[in-house]
């Protein structure tokens, strides 16, 4: 009787346990959206995608990077893809992000707009084969992302602009330097040479003006004659100025003061 009673009590519990018990299951998936990488030629860029475990048991997976790329453009150098990590375990109800670094090499036919398409696969790792040594096909499950890579123009280098700017700056510096050098050279010429050269020039100019004055007087213009008469005096003054060792506004004012005295 006791045994019967215990059994009678256990049966409902067993039935309830069977009703409420959920079998452990794995549910491998991926977040929707195909990755698209725009990559500068000669450079790299990264994209990512996400794997999901919607089940109640952990999932071990392994990544298969694209073995080859398809392109509509002939004779291109295909992108180089680095996937991180290449394997892992996704906890139940969790997500797992896979990063993909894509590099597009420089090449004759790798022009902006060139596209490549490759498949990145995430395969569920199973430790046991269902075949158990028999013939047949092992069926593996996984998810895949179709990676599209588009080559874009390389980033413009600042080097040419920098070189041009440097050339302009150096040229400007040289011009300024040579101008100053010339001035300094001119200033350092012997004073006697400058005096002689200046005196000669002014005397010639004064003589010319004197001749012009006499010509004007001969023509009969009184006013013109007067103006012309002033010119020899100006010529003499100019001669004196020229004989001074150096010119300048301060020096030019001295003779006036002397006149006032």
């Amino acid at each position: 009787m006791r045994i019967r009673n215990i059994t009678g009590l256990l049966v409902p519990f067993v039935i309830l346990a069977l009703l409420f018990a959920q079998p452990a299951y794995a549910q491998f998936g991926e977040v929707a959206g195909q990755p698209h990488a725009n990559v500068s030629i000669g450079s790299s860029n990264s994209v990512s995608f996400t794997l999901v475990n919607g089940g109640s048991t952990p999932i071990d997976f392994q990544i298969i990077a694209p073995a080859s790329f398809q392109s509509s453009t002939a004779n291109t150098i295909p992108p180089v893809v680095t996937v991180t990590p290449m394997n892992g375990t996704i906890a139940p109800g969790a997500e797992f992000t896979i990063n993909v670094m894509v590099s597009v090499p420089s090449g004759k036919n790798n022009t902006p707009g060139t596209q490549w398409v490759g498949v990145i696969q995430a395969v569920v790792v199973s430790n046991s084969s269902g075949l158990n040594g028999a013939s047949g096909a092992n069926i593996q499950e996984g998810v895949a992302k179709v990676l599209t890579v588009t080559a874009i123009a390389p980033r413009p280098s600042l080097l040419p602009e920098a070189v041009a700017a440097a050339i302009i700056i150096i040229a400007a510096a040289l011009i300024i330097y040579f101008k100053r050098f010339r001035k300094a050279k001119a200033a350092s010429k012997p004073a006697s040479e400058a005096r002689a050269a200046g005196g000669r020039t002014t005397a010639v100019r004064g003589a010319k003006k004197q001749a012009a004055a006499s010509t004007a007087a001969r023509r009969g213009g009184r006013v013109t004659a007067r103006k012309a008469a002033k010119r020899p005096a100006a010529a003499r003054t100019a001669g004196r100025r020229a004989r001074r060792p150096s010119g300048g506004s301060a020096n030019r004012s001295r003779p006036r003061r002397r006149v006032r005295r």
Partner: protein, 331 residues
Amino acid sequence: MSVRAIPRKIAIGLVSLSLALAALALVSTALPLDATSSNTVVANVIVSNICFTSASPSSPSFASVAPPGSDNTNVEITDNDVGGNSQANVYVAGTSGSGATLGDWIGSGANTIPVGNTLWDLTSDSAYIGNALTNSLVETSIVVPAPNTLVTTTSANIFLGLSVPAGTSAGAYTQNIEIENLCGASETNTVITANVIVQGVCYISLSTTTLNFGTLTPTATYDTNAVVTDSDTGGNIAANVILQATSGSNGDWIGSGTNTIPVGNTLWDTASQSSYTGTPLTDSGTLTPIVVPAPNTVVTTTSANVFFGLGVPAGTAGGTYTQNILIENSC
């Protein structure tokens, strides 16, 4: 002083006296009987009991969820009473939507998540547990203490969790949640708008892990009708099926020693065939026209079949051969 002047003065005096008496009478009637002090005015006021409600944040965000999935009950909402004076009991309800969807999470189009998929709890939980939200106010056991003149703001926390059912369409969803503070006959409420992004996702689950073509003699074929069912349970996006043979270095069937059967001798098709016909399998991922439809909240599991056949080339050495076939969903 004339005879006329005296009565005028008397009249003025009488009028003044009467006015003074009237004023005195008025004052005496205005004062309460017990107001014995002639210079004291006693003012009375009744301060009523009240509790106020303000919740922060006003737009709490749940982490994006891939269905079927959940966010733990740890999204914190603080219910504040600023300046009240009474302890308040907290009530909650979902108020978004209307009619059949009253209280539900509302997405684009007719997409919804049931109101009861939001759970509330007194404490932060590291799991999706708690009490289901309803579309009518439910008293929680959460209490906002009474503020006082020293502590003029008091608060209590309520924690929310969310479960996104299988097949829920991808997109943004919002839910209005009313939080009411009730103290005595006084009640005040505020409405917060919770939001969540449901991710698009596709899953894969295969009906079998092996295909056994039995024993075949050279030149014999196996009709393209060995089926593998590819299912998506709980996702929300249609998936394209990709096939690839992965055994060996080039996908061939591997026998003992160096014996092989070429990979392309395995054919696949979208329909069951009564002959050995179809598309040769390859060792690179091939996008097939097979599509696993998107599940939804009504039909939470969808599937598509892939059929395989095999031909054994003439002269193939006897023995056991195996091939690995990879079936992938991509969305």
